[in-house]
């Protein structure tokens, strides 16, 4: 077994996999409010990302085990899927945020301490290593069920690495 496979087998996305979807770069660069990234590389019986999507951007599933497919022309970056996904596998990235070097990520958060606007956070990669500091811009609770969607300003070149935050 290769090291990449080992990592993947323990829950770390190691390369392009079916079900790991990210937006086309040209559309993404100019899309205000951001577009969704989904990391759901396994067929499992689950579809709340589709049923909760208000614009139909998460296209209907033929089979409940299907992995989500995105019609990026319809995604508005609303982050409802981020809040509803039981596997916390959806993230929104807004590349139009701030200056050249910054971007805004909308990440699911179900931990303590409570996230507050303006607070500094550690940005964690898929292995839980701190890769940058970020600043909380806004906190919402789209489903009113205690799963928060935390909007964090992060270094733009790390949007494909950062997958969690730690409020410190």
């Amino acid at each position: 077994m290769t090291d990449k496979q080992k990592l993947f087998n323990s829950g770390i996305l190691t390369e392009e996999r079916p079900g790991a979807v990210s937006p086309p770069r040209d559309l993404w660069e100019n899309k205000k409010n951001g577009l969704v990234i989904i990391e759901c590389p396994q067929r499992i019986p689950c579809n709340p990302c589709h049923t909760s999507c208000p614009t139909g951007a998460v296209v209907p599933f033929d089979d409940i085990n299907d992995q989500p497919q995105i019609d990026y022309s319809k995604c508005t970056g609303c982050a409802r899927c981020v809040a509803v996904c039981p596997g916390l596998a959806c993230f929104v990235v807004d590349l139009t945020w701030g200056d050249e070097s910054r971007a805004l990520m909308k990440l699911p958060y179900e931990m303590l301490p409570s996230p507050e606007e303006g607070r500094q956070v550690d940005c964690l990669n898929r292995e839980g290593n701190v890769v940058a500091k970020g600043t909380i811009v806004r906190v919402t609770e789209p489903m009113h069920d205690k799963t928060k969607v935390v909007q964090v300003e992060v270094p733009k070149d790390l949007v494909m690495d950062i997958r969690a935050i730690k409020v410190v």
Binding site: G11, L13, C40, P45, P48, P86, L88, L124, R126, G128
Partner: protein
């Protein structure tokens, strides 16, 4: 002697669903639950369920339990007893004996029975596995998610199936550090997304590793883990972890004593994690008055337990000639 149309043994997702369904057809239902609260394992589940909307996907387990109890409270023909264990089934006269708390004993003669007795935690053999601090994953969930008690400060999780992964995440939510998860196989057994959730919080998952020893005199003060080879034999360097809880998530076995006592035909099905009652598509066992549902019918998930409970509930009502809603 007490009598009832349908007796449901076990008040978890399967039992509550069966009771609601049978009651909806006008059957008089008696449900007994050994725990202090109804809801079974659902009341400990803080994570959101997978599945589709009909199966309440995206809803947390404990909320689903609240919804089931609300549904059940709408029926006047359901009696529930908590802290009440069904201790025996006597095939000669079809009587079930129950003990409520520790000192009230009663007999009941139901026309039909749904056995929704759930499952119990498995253990694996390793030195000192009897020490306090070696707990089943369900027990850890009970402490922290039902009673708000911190099970310990630092945990070793044994098993990276869905339960091990989900409970690790819940431990972090409760403010407990997870030192690592050991998994004997070369990949996580649970959903990949559950593994990703704990990995990105910095929890290591040691694949092809097992616990080889618990350390402690009166209770756990540490654990030793080691890599295993293809024949599951420990090899190489032993790694000591400074933990005060060892959480076992190595699988469940269906709880079937009453089914055995009743003389139901039992079959060994490895996929369902042990001996289970032979049953038809309506969840009826080889005994004409006994149905089975949920983990007692084979280890699956709460979502399937609820479906099986509904099927069993409808089927008992039918067998009593009440198969249609008026």
């Amino acid at each position: 002697m007490r009598e009832t149309d349908v007796m449901v043994i076990g008040g978890g997702p399967a039992g509550l669903s069966a009771a609601a369904e049978a009651a909806s057809f006008g059957c008089d239902v008696t449900l007994v639950e050994s725990d202090l609260a109804l809801g079974g394992q659902l009341i400990k589940q803080t994570h959101k369920f997978f599945g589709s909307k009909d199966e309440r996907a995206g809803t947390r387990g404990f909320k689903i339990s609240e919804l089931l109890l609300e549904e059940l409270s709408g029926y006047g023909n359901v009696k529930t007893y908590t802290n009440c264990t069904a201790t025996g089934y006597y095939p000669e006269d079809g009587v079930v004996t129950c003990v409520r708390a520790e000192d009230e004993y009663f007999k009941i003669k139901p026309k039909k029975i749904v056995m929704a007795t759930g499952a119990q935690e498995r253990l694996i053999p390793f030195p000192n596995n009897h020490l306090p601090g070696v707990y089943g994953a369900g027990a850890v969930q009970t402490l922290m998610n039902v009673y708000g008690v911190k099970p310990g400060d630092k945990v070793l999780m044994v098993g990276a199936g869905n339960i091990g992964l989900i409970v690790s995440y819940q431990l972090i939510q409760a403010g407990v550090q997870v030192a690592g998860i050991v998994e004997a196989m070369d990949k996580v057994g649970g959903y990949w997304v559950h593994a990703a959730k704990v990995r990105r919080l910095g929890v290591p998952i040691y694949l092809r590793h097992t616990i080889v020893e618990a350390i402690g005199e009166q209770y756990v003060t540490g654990a030793v883990i080691q890599e295993i080879d293809e024949r599951f034999q420990p090899q190489g360097e032993r790694k000591s972890l400074d933990v005060d809880i060892i959480c076992m998530a190595v699988g469940l076995s269906p709880t079937c004593e009453l089914l055995w006592q009743a003389g139901c035909e039992m079959v060994f099905v490895p996929e369902l994690c042990g001996y289970v009652a032979q049953r038809d598509r309506n969840m009826r066992t080889s005994h004409k008055d006994i149905w089975v549902a949920g983990d007692a019918a084979g280890i699956e998930e709460a979502s399937s337990a609820m479906v099986e409970g509904r099927i069993a509930g409808v089927s008992t009502a039918r067998a009593l000639g009440r198969g249609t809603h008026e």
